[in-house]
């Protein structure tokens, strides 16, 4: 069925192109309009512009942060180590409590699919949806202030990611080794040890290292709500208006994250 017996002329093609371009342009214009309205309604109306002052005032505020409080550095050592430890133990604990979630959450090994699989998925979603600060608040009210609450918060937050990725890894295994071990008479445990685990452990290790790096970043702020580490120092420096001190703490955090990246880089190389 042809509704055109002659090929499109140059004019037709040009017209079609221009029309398409105009529609796209109009669409983007509307989108930008919506965004601008949004900005107006929220940011512009809501902000106390007088308090902010002019651009130079802002510049001055920012300038306060420039500089390092060298006197603070010795007292940073403890909290820095604490933050690092919270990240490490928290990630490890997260891995440990993850094990049932991984088992229930992988379609090919979950014991009773209609019940255990949804439970696992809900646990993973809850874990990932709740911000680490919120977890920290919950655990601080449960076990009191200090590093322990921080560790639990990190563990609870990491469970979701580690379990989800590990369950996927188990779901994606190559079945040929499983077949081979079964064929030579291996039982379920032997299949797990010789066929499944060797494939899955390197992947899980990679996932754990990845999450560990992110957890260093998370641990650095848990102290804001009393869960230990550099966050508390940050909070105190802020409250005493010691802005160079704030910068120093941030640098300490960046240093920790750098260490995490370096370790993670070498660990990855060693695994390959």
């Amino acid at each position: 069925m042809q509704d055109q017996t002659s090929p499109l002329t140059l004019d037709d093609i040009v017209r079609l192109r221009r029309k398409k371009q105009r529609t796209h342009f109009g669409f983007y214009l509307i989108l930008i309009g919506l965004v601008l309205w949004s900005v107006q309604a929220t940011v512009i109306d809501d902000t106390d512009w007088e308090r902010i002052g002019s651009l130079t005032d802002v510049g001055e505020s920012v300038a306060h942060f420039i500089g390092i409080d060298f006197g603070l550095i010795p007292s940073l050592l403890g909290p820095t180590i604490e933050t690092f430890m919270i990240a490490c133990i928290g990630t490890l604990l997260g891995l440990v409590i993850c094990i049932p979630a991984i088992w229930f959450g992988a379609l090919n090994v979950t014991p009773y699919k209609p019940v255990t699989y949804p439970i696992a998925r809900i646990a993973m979603t809850l874990s990932r949806s709740i911000h680490e600060i919120v977890w920290a608040l919950i655990f601080v009210s449960a076990v009191g202030l200090g590093a322990f609450a921080g560790i639990l918060a990190i563990a609870a937050r990491s469970l979701g990611f580690i379990a989800k990725m590990s369950a996927e890894a188990i779901e994606n295994i190559d079945h040929k080794p499983v077949e081979a071990i079964r064929a030579m008479g291996g039982n379920n445990l032997q299949v797990m040890l010789y066929a499944i685990l060797p494939q899955v452990l390197p992947v899980i290790l990679g996932i754990v290292i990845f999450e560990w790096e992110i957890n260093i970043r998370r641990s650095s702020v848990l102290g804001l709500v009393g869960a230990g580490g550099l966050g508390l120092v940050f909070f105190r420096q802020m409250n005493t208006f010691n802005y160079p001190g704030v910068t120093t703490v941030i640098l300490a955090i960046l240093g920790l994250i750098l260490i995490g990246e370096v370790v993670s880089h070498y660990a990855r190389k060693a695994m390959i």
């Binding site: 940011v43 949806s129 650095s220 940050f234 994250i257």
Partner: protein, 282 residues
């Protein structure tokens, strides 16, 4: 039946062969590292004064506290107009911050990709540094910094989320750009295209779909962060959370936490659905 050959007589030689699971020095190093890590953990538990013996008791107390003080959650409070307004604000804060962050992250992803960065000696390292910097600073810290400079309100929240999104999406964008087919880029270079033309015609068409998926992911994570930045003064639901915690209004706190969890879970489902639609529409 013929006699089965004994392995030791197969070769006929008398060479003594050995194999051991323990390999020197590699195994020593591996076990050494493992031991060091375990010692570190044990030391940490000691250093942080983690009361292992009291753990079980603590969880009992948690159950107590949850049942008595946080239940029932004060649901009336959260359907109040003020709080609903805060929810809208949080959503707007999240998508504005993600939007501006993503726009800048597109360029950052381009500059921070080794294969197509306009200048490998200057722009590339700077872009990588910026991305790392934005990524390493936690969104709460960004929020506190902006609140200090600009006061309370939604603006510091939007800016904090923008910085967060730049770091988050920037790295993902750069990784995506680094995995494109360079043939298309070569063609544009060969015909005399400028860097911008190389990006728009050689790079962007290849990564557009992946970028969309990353954008949706970024919005989802930004929303999660937006719900709590109010805790340090940046507006939205987090502000209500802080107030009620300070006033020890535990039932209201529970209700707010519940609303946060519900909204984030909804946003997670929406974004997961959208991402699967996008990857199918490829």
């Amino acid at each position: 039946m013929p006699e089965k050959p004994q392995i030791s007589t197969l070769q006929g030689d008398n060479v003594h062969r050995e194999w051991s699971r323990f390999k020197y020095p590699q195994s020593l190093i591996n076990y050494g590292i493992l031991l060091a890590i375990l010692l570190f953990f044990a030391y940490s538990v000691h250093y942080l004064n983690i009361p292992l013996e009291r753990i079980l008791g603590m969880f009992g107390r948690l159950g107590d506290v949850l049942a008595n003080r946080y239940y029932p959650p004060d649901l009336v409070y959260i359907v109040d107009k003020g709080y609903l307004g805060a929810i809208i604000e949080t959503i707007q804060m999240a998508y504005l911050g993600a939007l501006f962050g993503l726009l800048m992250a597109i360029f950052l992803g381009w500059f921070a990709a080794y294969n197509v960065s306009p200048s490998r000696r200057y722009i590339y390292p700077v872009a990588r540094l910026v991305a790392m910097g934005c990524r390493s600073v936690h969104e709460m810290i960004w929020a506190i910094l902006f609140v200090t400079i600009l006061g309370f309100g939604l603006l510091p929240g939007v800016l904090a989320l923008t910085m967060f999104s730049i770091g988050f999406a920037g790295k993902l964008f750069a990784e995506e750009v680094e995995s494109i087919d360079m043939g298309e880029v070569e063609a544009i270079r060969a015909m005399g295209g400028t860097h911008l033309q190389i990006f728009v015609f050689g790079v962007f068409p290849q990564v557009r779909v992946a970028f969309t998926g990353i954008a949706i992911y970024t919005w989802d994570v930004a929303f999660r962060a937006a719900t709590v930045v109010g805790f340090v003064g940046a507006g939205g639901m987090g502000w209500y959370l802080k107030r009620n915690i300070m006033q020890i209004e535990t039932e209201r706190t529970a209700a707010i936490l519940l609303s946060i969890i519900v909204l984030v879970v909804i946003s997670e489902f929406v974004s997961a659905w959208a991402r699967s639609r996008v990857s199918r529409a490829k």
